[in-house]
Symmetry: C2
Subunit: 471 residues, 2 copies
């Protein structure tokens, strides 16, 4: 059924892209490369390697927050997996981070009608006193209402922001809401609040709060901050509408300065121009509440699975494929560390892309600015169409948190956009576990990644010097 549909789609696309050629000088003829890419994609649809990879990671390691022993175990595990799969130059590149470790966490409505609330500490939050902090809450139904509150108006209170995150397939709902988590604690503190709670940035309604990092602003008092599960945030809205509500909040996270993490690297060396690199990856670290299946076990599995299929080809592509399993994405350390360590090499990185948006199928691919209308784009379009993915002619503005540093250094990025409609149901929660991955959808993502990666590595496309598409 699905495959029949694919054949119909590819027929149309081939018709509209007839005569397309990649302007390769050293590479194989277009037809050969497109045929190889197509066969890679089809092979990926029935290759269990990526699912096995994330199954092993989430089962044998589980959670792997950067800076913990579990993450260290994951690094050793990943090196072994890359070596066993035939990757070359497998190694781990160390960097330091300020590791943040969750402690106890609880929140309770106190008074004559006590109730327990489901909360989780935000990454980077300071601790409460050992006995917790108890105060009346001030509820804001939108973040802008909090920002409109006068300095001093929250003195001695726990600020609670209950703004809803909007479910958007491409993740833009999360982008729009992230300031509520990132900046909210400092904005509340500047207005006198003693602690901060937000409605989880999530699209589910389970009693499983969503963690994630905060950013304290310089000069603002650092107050403890946590996320409420969605039902608990709604409960507080209802209770606050009835009268004053007091909460006791206990959070006891700790910090490990100068902790170690590693970006794990493995390569498929290019046959002709090994210094030119196509960099793909995901992040090996995860939040500590679940087992990091969709965030980002799936992403590292996709990059691993795609590169592994290319390594198994009878003829290697001309350029090197480098897989990087980043080591501290969740607390924002690994991308910057990688970019800093590879500053001098940035000019040789043809393109970079990170899989960090779950385990569902890739809907569309965006290329660096100027690539739409290019021979490369047409070859990509015709090869991913049978897989159920479209070429999106808008330029890729974001290639993943861990390649942002490279992008700043001039490296072109691509975006392989997955279906994220339910990604934020489990994102950063205890619910991010293996059962949330549909192996068939994961395989489709591997297929599109393998096609993209192969075509980039087998061509001599230079995304830095492509002409803009004709107007």
């Amino acid at each position: 059924m699905r495959n029949n549909l694919y054949f119909l789609v590819v027929g149309v696309v081939l018709a509209t892209s007839a005569g397309a050629t990649i302007s390769a000088t050293n590479a194989q003829p277009l037809e050969t490369r497109v045929a190889t890419a197509s066969s890679l994609g089809q092979k990926a649809l029935n290759d269990p390697a990526a699912f096995d990879f994330v199954e092993s990671l989430t089962t044998e390691i589980g959670q792997r927050l950067a800076g913990t022993e579990a993450h260290k175990r994951a690094v050793a595990w990943a090196e072994a997996k890359l070596k066993a799969a035939g990757f070359e130059n497998v190694h781990s590149e160390p960097f330091n981070l300020r590791a943040w470790i969750r402690g106890a966490e609880s929140a309770d409505i106190v008074g004559s009608v006590p109730q327990h609330l489901a909360v989780t500490t935000l990454g980077g939050s300071v601790a409460t006193d050992a006995n917790g902090v108890e105060a009346e809450i001030a509820v804001f139904r939108t973040y802008d209402e909090l920002l409109a509150a006068a300095p001093g108006s929250l003195n001695g209170k726990i600020a609670v922001v209950t703004q809803r995150m909007v479910r958007v397939q491409d993740g833009s709902g999360y982008g729009a809401a992230s300031r509520i988590r990132r900046s909210g604690p400092s904005e509340a503190a500047k207005r006198g609040a003693v602690a901060y709670l937000l409605r989880s940035l999530g699209t589910d309604n389970h009693r499983l709060p969503h963690t994630g990092a905060l950013d304290y602003q310089e000069g603002a008092p650092q107050i403890p901050a946590a996320a409420l599960s969605v039902p608990d945030a709604e409960q507080l809205e209802r209770l606050a509408a009835r009268g004053p509500v007091r909460i006791r909040l206990l959070l006891t996270p700790t910090v490990k300065e100068n902790a170690a993490s590693w970006n794990v690297v493995g390569e498929i060396k290019g046959a002709e121009r090994p210094d030119e690199t196509v960099l793909i990856g995901g992040h090996l670290d995860s939040w500590d509440l679940g087992t990091g299946a969709t965030d980002d076990g799936a992403g590292v599995a996709i990059a691993f699975g795609a590169a592994r299929l290319i390594a198994a080809l009878p003829q290697r592509p001309g350029r090197t494929i480098r897989v990087v399993l980043f080591g501290a994405e969740e607390m924002d350390f690994s991308g910057a560390a990688y970019a800093q360590a590879h500053e001098g090499e940035a000019g040789n990185i043809v393109v970079a892309a990170e899989a960090d948006f779950g385990a569902r199928n890739v809907l569309s691919v965006q290329l660096p600015p100027g690539a739409a209308g290019s021979d490369f784009a047409r070859a990509l379009q015709q090869t991913i169409a049978p897989l159920g993915a479209i070429f999106d002619s808008r330029p890729a503005l974001f290639g993943g948190d861990d390649v942002r540093g490279l992008q700043k250094a001039g490296v072109p990025v691509a975006a392989l956009r997955q279906d994220g409609l339910d990604y934020f149901d489990t994102h950063h929660t205890a619910d991010d576990t293996l059962d949330k991955i549909d192996p068939k959808q994961l395989d489709q993502a591997v297929a599109v990644w393998s096609v993209f990666t192969y075509l980039a590595a087998a061509s001599d496309v230079d995304f830095r010097n492509l002409a803009p598409p004709p107007k």
Copy 2:
């Protein structure tokens, strides 16, 4: 759209039941009663009272496990609500129970790859030692495999049963699986196990385990027992397939002997034969993890909402409608207590039914044996059809846990069967919160209950003496 569909349906049903009459002697003419019932049903579809009731209960009281202060607050709350709504003879009937109170609960895989597991203690479970119990696990993928294990074969082990519960709309999947939770602890103990874990009896895959009562068998050692969330049970299956797994389990529940609970009662006195009673209800107690919205805030709201609409009619039905909000269903005390206290009155109870299957719409109604083919059944059928519910000619075998005692004493029971397809996604978990209730579906359930209750109270049907339907 929905209403148009209803009109089509009612047309068909009226055609097939043309000429039906209820063989009433003292009651109003059939057409009048059917018209009143139909108008009650339509009114219920737009009556916010039931949703407001469960909103207030879950917001202002929250969890209300029998024997706790919270349940005591719920009893006072319920009496006040019934009085304010104009119910008569509002009172609470006390009974004693052995109250079971949850303590700390945790489970962790220990050894070189520690992992945290989401568990919750089964109701009635004994505690572990203060330091917990640590042992290797023995995993059984079906309960029958555990039963087939030889005595002594589980010595010193923690038995883990991971059998899946099947999702069936009518709840029979739960019925079939309940022995795994009820009897599993004693069966494991008889074979030497030191503790017992089961895959939650639930149809979701969230990290929110499902609690529920166990039944220790006489003569078997009493071992601590808990439910794993579904993803955790699957994680243990995968890990156990790789090698030995050790778990440390800590459960510290306590027991309060001779605790107090109450069945809360309110009546709409009958205009003609007030001694004849139509008894409807739900249970006011809830498990302690969530706020008892669908189990059974919805049920008490449905019974309340249906009776309240009938109370507001210009002319009362002939028989008394008694609403009972039972006070300890989850630990199996309130139904027996009620039946015992009302033994002498059983002959005057025309019919009894409990709403205890969530907040979704009623799909079908079953009447006591012999009622199919009766005038009452035909009147019911034609009145509930516009609401999207069918008359199911199979006899009601089960009317709810709290009316089982009455049923044993000879009281006929009816079953108003709701859509339970997702009921066991949140049943007995922290996720049983108000947001899981769709007010429109709740209103439909109230509508069908109001029709059924009114027709039973306005007729002189005697379910004990109805002829069996013609073969």
